[in-house]
Amino acid sequence: MPRIQTMKKIIILFSVILFAFFTFNSFSQCKLKDLKAEYVEKIKPYEFEGISAGIIFAGEATTISVSVFRNQKYRLLFHSEGFDGPVSVRVMTRNRFVLFTNKDDPSLDRYTFLPKKTEDYFVEFTTPSSANEDARGCVAVILCSRGY
């Protein structure tokens, strides 16, 4: 009987390890090809224009820049995975004028806009802290446009 219990524990532990392994791998890829495939339907009726993605540590911030043209309809989609809590997102101009923030509603994952001038926007991700100092995840920005 003790032997059966031991085997049960091994199976449970093995399952936990397998889960952790696949969870780790699912975001550690953070591949643009996979992200593009994931979003290509979600962005409709907008059309895919560009993407940038990478891995950052929990509790850190990073900024991704994107060029936009005046009088064109754009939508930015924000992607994050692998973090313990909500990731805060801000879209700013070069002079740090905030155009979008998800501070009041962390579930907001997109910003739709029509720029008055051609310029670079800056998307800032701030990830939640974690007790595990090695914790990290994937963040990405997907730029799509409509009606050129």
């Binding site: 895919f48 560009g50 990478g54 043209f69 670079d120």
Partner: protein
């Protein structure tokens, strides 16, 4: 009989499993998992991979078309020279030129020219290790099946551009991505500036000025990614093109208003000649 404590092997098993994931590129884990600093450095290095999102060449071509840019086959880069491009530097730059010419031809219903340019692009892409992008998506076959549908061709070209871009970035070939974008930017502005000179179309000239937005991040990224290539000549040429464009700013932009931009014939000539210099790497190969 001695009973084996299987729990002892669980950490070993876990690390073996992590090791099995080493076919990822770039790898998140260093070979020595005990070496935290190496692992952290490995992950931190990926933070640098957040790359500026440049505008799609196809979308820019469509913007120019909507502004009144007409088709002039005489402006396209020589397609006969593609086989003479023997370095990856020239092939990547050429891929940018031919890619924009392909898009420009397709959106102007020049489907035969467009498919010829697609075949050239495929050949250059194969030399650059991008063959899987073409093979897995069957672009040539899909293109030939949609020759009478400009919208479908545009969608295919858009997909080809974004798949190629994702493939190169996912495989740490940022330098090739940048060269291709530089070629595409040069070709776009060359076509637009050449036609703006003959048509005096103000909307096209304004859009030429708007292309400045991509130049700063492009020149910066080229400067930061010269491990495999020497980009100094290209950076110098693009910087000179930027100076010519900046000389056309009549009123700088404000927080809310766009800049006012004009280019005299003389400045357009200067710009065209500078872009011809970059194109000559492929056009005169």
């Amino acid at each position: 009989m001695t009973q084996v404590n299987w729990f002892r092997f669980i950490p070993v098993l876990f690390f073996l499993m992590l090791g099995c994931s080493s076919n990822k590129e770039p790898s998140l884990e260093s070979d020595n998992l005990a070496d935290d600093s190496m692992r952290l450095d490995s992950v931190k290095s990926q933070v640098k991979e957040f790359i500026h999102i440049f505008p799609s060449h196809l979308k820019v071509a469509l913007m120019f078309k909507n502004a009144g840019l007409k088709y002039d086959p005489g402006l396209l880069i020589s397609s006969g020279n593609s086989s003479k491009l023997i370095t990856n530097y020239d092939r990547a730059l050429g891929l940018g030129f031919y890619g924009v010419d392909m898009a420009y031809s397709a959106i102007n219903n020049q489907t035969q020219s467009s498919i010829n340019l697609l075949k050239i692009s495929k050949s250059l892409s194969q030399e650059l290790g991008l063959e899987s992008v073409y093979e897995s998506n069957k672009y040539i076959e899909k293109f030939e099946a949609n020759l009478n549908n400009v919208d479908s061709l545009s969608d295919l070209i858009s997909d080809l551009f974004s798949e190629s871009d994702a493939f190169l970035k996912d495989n740490n070939k940022l330098d090739i991505t940048l060269l291709t974008f530089a070629g595409g930017w040069t070709e776009t502005v060359y076509l637009a500036a050449s036609l703006a000179k003959t048509t005096k179309n103000k909307a096209i000239i304004e859009l030429v000025g708007d292309q400045l937005v991509s130049l700063n991040p492009l020149v910066k990224l080229l400067g930061e990614n010269q491990e495999n290539f020497d980009f100094s000549t290209l950076i110098k040429q693009l910087t000179e093109a930027r100076e010519i464009l900046e000389s056309g700013i009549v009123t700088p932009e404000t927080e809310t208003e766009p800049m006012v931009f004009e280019l005299t014939d003389k400045k357009l000539d200067q710009l065209i000649n500078k872009l011809k210099e970059i194109r000559s790497k492929v056009n005169n190969a």
